[in-house]
C-alpha cells in the first residue's frame, strides 16, 4: 500500500474497506490487552486459530485480536459477532464449543455469559451489561472493536478522516477555534483549557515548536491511558498530528511508561503504519505539512508526569521539575515552545474535528464538557474502565455502573486523583464528576483513578500510604516537599502505631498547608491533599487512633489482634496448616486458637477461612 495522497483517496479506501467487510460473517474477537493477557487470552486466541482450522472454517469465520474492553477482572473477554455475544472468563477448553455452537450456529453458551454479582442476572451482549449500559463511551468507543495493530481497522471506523479534513480544508486558527469552542480541557488531571494552551504555544516566540503526548500514567490505581494506548493507538497519533498542524510543530514525542510494554509496542507499530500510509512523516496527505513522532520510554519516576519534569526527562536529564513561572508553552523542550497534553486529550481531538465542537460540548456541565474516564478499582463489584459524561453523580458510578461495594459492605470513601487527590466521604456522593466540583471537595479529577474504599479501609493508613508513595517519588529538589512529606509520613506512621498525640494532628494540618503553599511543582503542592481531606472528613478516625489507641477499621497492625470465633470455627485445620508462623493450634474438628505471641498478623488465616471464623479485634493489653 502506497501513501494516501488526499482526502478523496482516503474516503475511497474507507468505502472499499466497508464494502469488503461482511457484517453478517461470524467473527470472534479476542481481547489481548494487558489484563486479559495476564489471564491467558493469548492461549485462548491460539485455541481459536487452531479450532477454526481444525473445523475447516477459515473461509467462513474471522478471528480478530482487539485491545482492552476495560473489564479486565472478567478476562479473558471474547465477543462473537455478528450477534455480539459477550463471553467472559473464557478458557482454552471452552473454545471448541464456542466455535461450533456460537460462531457457527449463533447459539449461546450460557455458562460463559457474564452474570451480575449481586442479582445473578445474565447478559448476552456487552451493551446489556449494566457496567457498560450506563456508560457514555466516546474516547474508549473503539476499544475492543478494532485490531490495534492494523491501521486498516482504524480507517474502517473513520480513522484519519479528521486529519484529512484538517490539513486540506482548515486553517490552523480554525482548528484552534473548534477546540476552543468544544470546551475540551486537559484530561491528564489539571483540566487546563486545551484550545487556550494550543493558542499560547502557537503564538509563543521560538522555533521549532514541539507537541508531546503524556502517557506517563504513574498515578497508582489508574489504567485508562494504558488501555487507550494499547487498544487505539492511532486515535492518539491522529490527535497529535492535528494538534501539531494547528500549533505549527513538525516534531513530537510520546512519553510512555516503561511499565507498559504492550502500549509501547502498539504505539510503535501504529507509528510505522501511519508513516507508510502518509499520515505521519513528510508531506502528510500531500498537504505540504510534515510531522514526526518519536517515542520516549519513561524510567519509572512518578514525578515525570509533571510537565517540566517530563520535558527534562525527554532531554535525557533527571526528571526534576522547575519553577512554574516559566511555562512549557513558551520554554519547553530545549527551551522551545512545547505543547503537552495527556494521551486521552489527544484522542478527543479527532472526535471533535470530525463531529464538531457542538457535538462534544452538548454533554457535560457548564465548565466541564464531554466525558471523563475513570479506572474504577478497589472494593467494588465491577472493576474496570468507566467513561461517563461530565456531571454524572459519583453515586451513579459506584452503584449503577460499579454494582456496589464488594461483600455488600458500606462505602467509606472514594479516592480520586491518585496521590495528588483526596478522599471524598460517602455523604458527598451526590457530587457530579466535574473538574471544579471535585477540587472544591478537596480532591481532584487527576488522571482518572477512582478507588473505592469500604469500612475495612483505615483512612489514617490510606494517608500514610500516599505519603509513603510521595516521599519515595519526590525528586528532592525543593525543601517543603523533600523534607515535609517525610516528616508527615513519620507522624502518620506514629499514629498508626498508636504513638500519636492530639498535637500531632494539629502539626499535620499546619505542615500540610505549608507544603501545599510552598512546594515548587504540582507533586509537592498537591501532596498534602490526602492528609487534608482525611483530616477534614475522617477526623474521628484519627482521634480514635490518637486518643483511644484504636483502629476502627481493623487495619493498623499495632492496634489489632486476630482471633478465631468459637461459634464459627469447624476445626478444619486449613488455617493451621497455612499459618506461616505456626501460631495456630487446635485438634481436628475442634475450635482452633491463635497464639498471640507468635502471630505476625499476616491475615493468611482470614484469607483462607471459608467459614468467616477469623476475626480482627482491637488489641487488648
Amino acid at each position: 500500500m502506497g501513501k494516501i495522497k488526499n482526502k478523496q483517496a482516503l474516503v475511497t479506501l474507507q468505502k472499499s474497506l466497508l464494502q469488503q467487510r461482511d457484517l453478517s460473517k461470524p467473527c470472534a474477537r479476542v481481547c489481548v490487552g494487558t489484563g486479559c493477557r495476564a489471564r491467558g487470552s493469548l492461549n485462548v486466541l491460539k485455541s481459536f486459530e487452531d479450532e477454526i482450522k481444525k473445523q475447516g472454517l477459515a473461509s467462513k469465520a474471522d478471528l480478530k485480536q482487539t485491545g482492552c474492553h476495560g473489564f479486565c477482572e472478567k478476562g479473558p473477554v471474547v465477543v462473537i459477532g455478528p450477534e455480539e455475544t459477550f463471553y467472559s472468563e473464557v478458557e482454552s477448553a471452552d473454545v471448541p464449543e464456542i466455535v461450533s455452537e456460537t460462531l457457527m450456529k449463533g447459539k449461546i453458551v450460557d455458562r460463559l455469559l457474564y452474570a451480575e454479582p449481586v442479582t445473578g442476572r445474565k447478559s448476552v451482549c456487552e451493551h446489556d451489561i449494566p457496567f457498560y449500559k450506563k456508560q457514555t463511551r466516546r474516547i474508549l468507543f473503539n476499544n475492543g472493536k478494532i485490531d490495534p495493530t492494523n491501521i486498516l481497522d482504524y480507517i474502517t471506523v473513520g480513522g484519519y478522516l479528521a486529519l484529512a479534513k484538517t490539513v486540506t480544508e482548515m486553517s490552523s486558527e480554525e482548528v484552534i477555534s473548534v477546540i476552543d469552542k468544544s470546551g475540551l480541557r486537559g484530561l491528564g488531571g489539571a483540566g487546563f483549557p486545551t484550545g487556550r494552551k494550543w493558542r499560547s504555544t502557537r503564538t509563543a516566540v521560538g522555533d521549532p515548536k514541539f507537541v508531546v503526548g503524556n502517557g506517563d500514567e504513574g498515578d497508582p490505581g489508574a489504567f485508562s491511558d494504558r488501555s487507550l494506548m494499547e487498544a487505539n493507538p492511532h486515535s492518539i497519533l491522529e490527535g497529535m498530528t492535528i494538534g501539531a498542524y494547528a500549533i505549527g510543530a513538525n516534531s513530537g514525542f510520546l512519553y510512555v511508561r516503561a511499565e507498559y510494554p504492550l502500549a509501547l509496542k502498539h504505539l510503535q507499530i501504529a507509528i510505522e503504519q501511519s508513516k507508510e500510509y502518509g499520515f505521519l512523516g513528510d508531506n502528510i496527505l500531500a498537504s505540504g505539512f510534515n510531522f514526526n513522532v518519536d517515542i520516549a520510554r519513561g524510567g519509572g519516576a512518578f514525578v515525570c508526569g509533571e510537565s517540566s519534569a517530563l520535558v527534562a526527562s525527554i532531554e535525557g536529564k533527571m526528571g526534576e521539575p522547575r519553577a512554574k513561572y516559566i511555562h512549557t508553552v513558551e520554554k519547553g523542550l530545549w527551551n522551545k515552545p512545547t505543547n503537552l497534553n495527556n494521551v486521552k486529550t489527544w484522542a478527543c481531538v479527532p472526535l471533535i474535528i470530525g463531529n464538531g465542537a457542538n457535538w462534544y460540548s452538548e454533554i457535560g456541565t457548564k465548565e466541564s464538557k464531554g466525558t471523563a474516564v475513570f479506572s474504577l478499582v478497589g472494593k467494588i463489584n465491577n472493576t474496570g474502565l468507566v467513561e461517563v459524561s461530565m456531571g454524572t453523580p459519583l453515586k451513579r458510578i459506584v452503584y449503577d455502573i460499579g454494582g456496589g461495594i464488594l461483600g455488600n459492605r458500606r462505602l467509606k470513601a472514594l479516592q480520586t486523583g491518585g496521590p495528588s487527590g483526596g478522599c471524598i466521604p460517602e455523604e458527598l456522593l451526590d457530587l457530579p464528576v466535574d473538574f471544579d466540583e471535585l477540587n472544591k471537595a478537596g480532591s481532584m479529577m487527576g488522571s482518572g483513578g477512582m478507588i473505592v474504599m469500604d469500612e475495612y479501609t483505615c483512612m489514617v493508613d490510606v494517608a500514610r500510604y500516599f505519603l509513603d508513595f510521595l516521599q519515595y517519588e519526590s525528586c528532592g529538589k525543593c525543601v517543603p516537599c523533600r523534607e515535609g512529606i517525610k516528616r508527615m509520613l513519620e507522624i502518620t506512621t506514629n499514629i498508626t502505631k498508636g504513638h500519636g498525640t492530639k498535637e500531632d494532628m494539629d502539626l499535620l494540618q499546619e505542615m500540610a498547608e505549608t507544603i501545599r503553599d510552598f512546594s515548587l511543582c504540582g507533586l509537592g503542592q498537591t501532596a498534602p491533599n490526602t492528609v487534608l481531606s482525611t483530616l477534614r472528613y475522617f477526623r474521628k478516625e484519627y482521634e480514635a487512633h490518637v486518643i483511644e489507641k484504636r483502629c476502627p477499621a481493623g487495619v493498623c497492625k499495632a492496634l489489632i489482634q486476630y482471633t478465631i470465633l468459637k461459634e464459627k470455627c469447624t476445626g478444619c485445620g486449613v488455617c493451621k496448616a497455612l499459618c506461616p508462623s505456626q501460631a495456630i493450634q487446635g485438634e481436628p474438628k475442634k475450635t482452633h486458637i491463635i497464639d498471640m505471641a507468635k502471630c505476625v498478623k499476616c491475615n493468611a488465616c482470614r484469607d483462607v477461612c471459608k467459614f468467616e471464623a477469623v476475626a480482627v479485634k482491637q488489641k487488648v493489653d
Binding site: R297, G299, F302, N603
Partner: protein
C-alpha cells in the same frame, strides 16, 4: 542490595557499549535510551559502562550517575535472573499487596530491593503496573500473576525456578 554477592564485574565490553551509543547517534539527549539498552543487556549498569557513556557523549560522569540513580528502571548493582515485581499501587495495596510482598521476602530470605546470593531472584515493589483490575498483582519476568495471596507465593516461585532450570539444560 546488601545480600548480593560482591559483584564480580565482568570484563568491560567497551565495543558493545560504544555500539549502543553510536546507534543512538551519540546524542546527549539519548542518555536515557542508551542506559535503558545497557541495562537490558547486563540487567544493571556496570560502573565501567557509565564511565564509557560519559566519555563518549561528553556528559560529565556526575550527570550520568545522577540519571542512573534517579530512575527506578536502572540498577547500579547486579539484579537477579528473575525480578519479582510486587505491585503496591493503591488498588493492590488495599487488597493486600503488602502481605504478598512480605511473603515473597520471607520465601526468598531477602528484603525489597535486594537480590538472592545465587543471583536467581530480585524483589522489587512497584507502584502500579496498570493492571488494577487484577489486584493484587505480581509480575515475574513479564508473566503476570493476578489476584495474588501470600499462600500462593511459594508455589509460584518454585515453578519459576524449576522452569528456568529446564531452560538452561
Amino acid at each position: 542490595m546488601t545480600n548480593a554477592q560482591s559483584p564480580v564485574e565482568p570484563m568491560p565490553e567497551y565495543d558493545r557499549v560504544d555500539q549502543i551509543v553510536e546507534r543512538n547517534n551519540c546524542k546527549r539527549s539519548a542518555l536515557i535510551p542508551i542506559l535503558q539498552e545497557i541495562e537490558s543487556v547486563y540487567n544493571y549498569l556496570p560502573t565501567w559502562a557509565l564511565r564509557r557513556v560519559s566519555e563518549k557523549l561528553g556528559v560529565p560522569l556526575i550527570q550520568v550517575c545522577g540519571v542512573a540513580s534517579f530512575y527506578d528502571a536502572f540498577h547500579l548493582t547486579p539484579t537477579g535472573e528473575h525480578i519479582v515485581r510486587v505491585c503496591l499501587g493503591t488498588a493492590c495495596y488495599l487488597k493486600g499487596g503488602s502481605r504478598v510482598l512480605e511473603s515473597v521476602e520471607k520465601e526468598l530470605g531477602i528484603k525489597d530491593g535486594e537480590t538472592t546470593s545465587d543471583l536467581k531472584f530480585s524483589v522489587q515493589s512497584v507502584r502500579c503496573l496498570g493492571a488494577c483490575a487484577l489486584a493484587p498483582v505480581m509480575v515475574i519476568s513479564q508473566q503476570y500473576f493476578d489476584k495474588m495471596m501470600p499462600m500462593k507465593v511459594n508455589k509460584i516461585l518454585k515453578q519459576v525456578q524449576s522452569r528456568s532450570g529446564k531452560d538452561q539444560e
